[in-house]
């Protein structure tokens, strides 16, 4: 069966209809609303599953993609025509994203039925979740930048709503405005990038953009902004990448994500860890061929990624809030993905996106499971502070187990998924560094970040689950965790997929037969950087499923497609990669070891570090002062005074003197003109110009009289006087 818009669109529409229906019934029957949401996402999961298996298990060749469009609206006139097309684009990457998003979202929906059950706005939460899932799936299926942007912004809205879910809290209002505005800075640039690309390519669709890139449309094109002729490829890539910086919380727009933890924990799992933030990286991967054009772009992306990866990891070292550690680890991991994009590790970045989505969703759900159990009977609040935890292992075995699996994954312990993907990114960074010494900088940042990641994640685990309970009263009130399907099953399923074997192995036998090379893993076969030359002869009119089997050329190794290396060099690269892998393993275990020595053996005192590097410690606690700089500096000292000043000028100066001042001017003018009236009235030609000046004075005189009746009479008089004057 062919994929058509009507069949595929149900993936997006099921959750969307759930949102529409639930919006009306949520108050009356919240349980039904929850059921509808879960059923809808499960339906999407099944539909996505079909696509996933078709694409991944060898029904189609690796380069197969489906592209279907329909007209949204069209305009024409003045020899110009504008057709706004919308459509779906499915390739291997889309198929995997769909499967991951629906799968993770479904599990989070299930978990939410446990977590949100007692909340007064139980149903409303699912309304937003359905809308969010629908928007994310729409984004994944988008074939063009405009619909990508539409769903991108819709997710921003859902994020805004879910962060502000507890709207009684003043902080929720601060956090959601911060999240929305920060990401919107990126979005504005993203829109600019879309415009720049549109006017070069004449289309919004990815395939047309690829075709334009391969035909060299971007090579010498320039765009003039503020009088400077700038290379279009650079401006467009930077602008689009700004979208990623905003949405994926990269340096320097990372400030919103930690605050986004104000929302309910399951929404943190879905939006601020697993999917929405990954959309930024997904965009970067889709636009990767564009980034390659200008030599400045990839090193820049790698640098941003490296700085984010290390910077967020360092801040995570000093967090005491359970969710804050996870929030910073999310930023850090997103930094690795962006680093991966920057070093051209296309499939590794995408793999890290997938693996991270799974283990981070699991980590957040597990955090939710912990926080939900920790109920302070004095304040009636859930406890998130790690200093009040400790020893939780004994009370919640399943959560503890799932969380350790994910910790191993994120820390990069061999045989876990995070190792497979992160090691590839770092390995590729090393390879790039061999070619271009500049890359040593981001690569080093990445390696140091990996050490810190292992450390702070284990620190979190040790502080929360091991050792002695630090708040005895709190600890005693925790109910022993009993297996319940909606609490533990999602955790355990996600934990199962933190195993590296799913991603590194050759589970999909059929694909491997086709590949006929034992060196290549299934991910490398399926996720290949868009070969723009394949799209060169792509007929714009001939949109439909295109099977371009003839042009398939599988990469000999995963590197040659990226860097165009020969066999010999590829061998060399392989050895570099082995070094990278060994380094990664050593680093991961060092991090774990340090955490162990500090928090379990307590041989090393963390306090010593705090005292010795107290300036750094304060800087980390204040998140490197970025929030202070933005809020206190730019907004409170810059933007708001400027606004107040402008508003004051507008009403207090301009309106008061330049506009109302005419009253005084005309009062004088009127006195004078009354005096000269008899002399001048005859000399003024009875044409429109003269008459209007007179009319103006007449009217302004009535202004002083202040009698309303005058105005009516004046209109009638003026109108009739014109008619007469024309006679």
């Amino acid at each position: 069966m062919d994929y058509t818009i009507t069949t595929v669109a149900w993936i997006v529409l099921l959750p969307f209809f759930a949102f529409v229906i639930n919006a009306f019934i949520v108050k009356k029957v919240p349980n039904v609303a929850v059921g509808i949401s879960c059923a809808a996402i499960f339906g999407s999961f099944l539909l996505s599953g079909r696509i996933f298996f078709d694409f991944v298990f060898g029904k189609y060749s690796a380069d197969y993609h489906v592209h279907k469009v329909f007209n949204w609206f069209d305009l024409n006139g003045g020899g110009q025509e504008f057709v706004m097309k919308m459509g779906i684009y499915i390739d291997n990457m889309t198929a995997m994203m769909l499967f991951m998003v629906t799968g993770v979202a479904f599990l989070i929906h299930i978990f939410s039925t446990y977590y949100m059950k007692e909340d007064t706005r139980y149903g409303r939460f699912f309304v937003y979740m359905s809308l969010f899932t629908s928007a994310m799936l729409g984004l994944v299926l988008s074939d063009n930048l405009i619909s990508f942007f539409i769903f991108w912004e819709l997710m921003g809205f859902c994020s805004y709503s879910l962060i502000g879910f507890y709207y009684e809290k003043e902080d929720a209002g601060n956090a959601n405005i911060k999240a929305f505005m920060t990401t919107r800075i990126g979005d504005v640039f993203f829109l600019l990038g879309i415009l720049a690309i549109y006017f070069q390519v004449g289309s919004f669709t990815f395939v047309d953009i690829y075709a334009a890139i391969s035909s060299g449309m971007f090579t010498d094109a320039t765009v003039t902004i503020f009088g400077f002729g700038l290379p279009l490829a650079l401006i467009a890539s930077l602008a689009i990448f700004m979208g990623t910086i905003g949405k994926s919380a990269q340096f320097p727009l990372q400030v919103w994500l930690p605050d986004a933890m104000m929302g309910p924990t399951p929404c943190s799992a879905l939006i601020h860890a697993a999917t929405m933030v990954a959309a930024g990286v997904y965009l970067s991967l889709r636009m990767f061929p564009l980034y390659e054009i200008h030599p400045f772009m990839l090193p820049f992306i790698a640098t941003i990624g490296g700085i984010t990866a290390l910077g967020a990891a360092t801040i995570a070292l000093v967090q005491t809030d359970f969710k804050a550690v996870l929030a910073y680890s999310t930023i850090s991991q997103l930094g690795y993905m962006v680093l991966g994009v920057g070093v051209g590790a296309y499939n590794a970045a995408f793999m890290h996106l997938i693996t991270h989505a799974i283990f981070k969703a699991c980590l957040f759900l597990a955090a939710g499971s912990v926080i939900h159990s920790l109920h302070d009977h004095h304040t009636h609040q859930h406890v998130q502070e790690m200093p009040r935890m400790g020893g939780l292992k004994n009370k919640m075995k399943f959560t503890w187990f799932a969380m350790w699996c994910c910790t191993f994954a994120i820390a990069g312990v061999p045989f876990f998924s995070g190792f497979v993907s992160k090691d590839r990114i770092l390995g590729d960074a090393l390879v790039m560094a061999m070619h271009n010494p500049y890359y040593w900088f981001p690569a080093t940042l990445g390696f140091i970040g990996a050490l810190l990641t292992a450390f702070y994640m284990c620190r979190m685990m040790f502080l929360a689950f091991h050792g002695e309970p630090r708040d005895k009263d709190l600890y005693d009130h925790i109910h022993e965790e009993k297996f319940s399907w909606n609490r533990n099953l999602p955790l355990l399923i996600l934990a199962l997929f933190t195993l590296g074997v799913w991603f590194s192995g050759s589970l999909t036998g059929q694909k491997l037969v086709k590949v006929a090379s034992d060196k290549v893993e299934w991910f490398d076969t399926l996720i290949v950087k868009p070969k723009t030359e394949n799209f060169k002869n792509y007929q714009k009119q001939n949109w439909g499923p295109v099977d371009i089997k003839s042009t398939i050329s599988f990469p000999v190794s995963k590197y040659d497609s990226n860097h165009g290396l020969s066999e010999e060099e590829a061998h060399h690269v392989h050895s570099v990669h082995s070094i990278g892998a060994i380094a990664s393993i050593i680093i991961a275990f060092s991090g774990i070891f340090i955490a162990f020595m500090m928090y379990i053996r307590k041989s090393w005192n963390p306090g010593w570090w705090v005292n010795t590097f107290s300036t750094w410690y304060r800087a980390l606690q204040n998140k490197y002062y970025f929030d202070d700089m933005y809020i206190k500096g730019i907004i409170q000292k810059g933007l708001i005074p400027v606004n107040n000043f402008l508003a004051w000028v507008d009403m207090g100066i301009y309106d008061k003197y330049a506009i109302d001042g005419w009253e005084k001017v005309n009062r004088c003018a009127f006195t004078v003109s009354k005096w000269f009236d008899n002399i001048f009235v005859d000399t003024i030609a009875v044409d429109g110009t003269g008459a209007s000046v007179r009319a103006f004075n007449v009217i302004l005189r009535t202004f002083q009289s202040g009698k309303i009746q005058f105005y009516i009479i004046m209109i009638i008089l003026v109108l009739s006087s014109y008619i007469w004057s024309l006679a």
Binding site: G77, E153, E170, M181, R184, Y198, F199, V642
Partner: protein, 516 residues
Amino acid sequence: MHGTSTLLNWILWTPFIGVVGVILLPYLFSKDKQDNVVRWWSLLNTIGSMILAVVLYMKFDTSVPGMQEQFAVNIAWIKQFNIFYSLGVDGISLPMIMLAALLFFLCILSSWTITKSVKGYFALFLMLQGTVYGVFLALDFFLFYVYWEVMLLPMFFLIGIWGGENREYAAVKFFLYTFFGSILMLVGIIALYYASGKGVDSFNILALSGGKFIDNQVHMFGTVWSFSKVFFWAMFIGFAIKVPVFPFHTWLPHAHVQAPTAVSVILAGVLLKMGTYGFLRIAYPIFPQASVQFADWIAVLGLINVIYGALCAMAQTDVKKLVAYSSVSHMGFVMLGLAAMTVHGMNGAVLQMFNHGTSTAMMFLLIGILYERSHHRWIVRPDGTKGFGGLYTQLPKYSIVFIIAMFASMGLPGLSGFISEALIFLGIYQKYTTITVLALFGLLIGAAYLLWMFKRMFFGEVIEECKSYTDMNAREIFYMAPLCVAVIVFGIYPTPVLDIMKSSVGQLVSLLAQFQ
């Protein structure tokens, strides 16, 4: 063009029949019933008006680019001066007629709580509706001007009598500002009358169109000036004051803040569009070459509107003033679209006129609903205390509608504002890249002031004085619902509106393209 159709006559005169009814009908009833008779009569009248607008929409042929012959009305009015009573409708005026019909109906519902001389209020309100229709339907320049001017009369009294504390100042200011512009327009009308030879067509807007006055000259201040340039600017200022374009915008915050809710809605929703409609119907078609020549100015002024309006809005502590400045900002986008003169830009501009009409009407209606409960509009009072707080908890339904209105207003994709803004940006990017880059920041600030306002009013604990507020009642929900549906439906599926306008706008773009 000799019309026999009566539909446009009915549309135009129904509100005036309503006015007569409002004046006469109460005499048939006892004193205590009179107010309600007036209200119900006005409501029926606007419903009738809406039905007629729908009939017009059904009969409208979207494939015809120009004025639709089937609706034409053309009767000699003042024969000596070749002034005709001629009406017509095309794809640019129809969306405005539909918008006006809807908004007036909703405003009558929202004015149900008016108690101060009900009869006068509704009579003036219906009269306002009639004159608005007149402006959008008139094809005779003189007739256009008459409606344009007469419209000031009900507006003046509606603001001056039913307005807030400083109503008289605001009313006079509104009146004088607009009148100043009108006079410049009148000069232009008279000049055109002479330039076109005082013939049968000399007040006919359609006959004057098409760039006929390129070579004409005008003698002024001892020099020879290009006729089309001089009178383009005369028309420009006349319409710009209505839009309002910076630096002619300062009447708007005063008028909005002082006007009663329904009048604010009409002011922002319909009357501002008369300014941009003037560009599309008169300034552009009659002086296309000057329009093309001065497009850069229009673009720059549009940009100033967008940024300046948004920055000023951010500083406001009165929520109605904030939305008033946001109108300045959003109408700037329309001006940018007009400056683009491309097919995307112009369609985007007309669509933005329509979409801003619905979204800003929602904002003003919502502020009116709140004002009826609070009797103040301070986000932050002058003494620094909170005017509102925790409204989300106190008024959940109201908050949901407010969120829809707010996000529609800031152009969230999926709601109506986005498509028109995106089209406008597509339109101007190629010609004015730098302006596009700067205008995009208008989107950013636009989101900032709305969200900041929302945060300060709706989040947090419910403050003491807000605890007595009641959520929206059935009547209020009833009149908000159509607008909610409109902003959502046209956000997802803009085709119905675009279909109406696109051939007419396309024709105008083609005309302008000849002079590029």
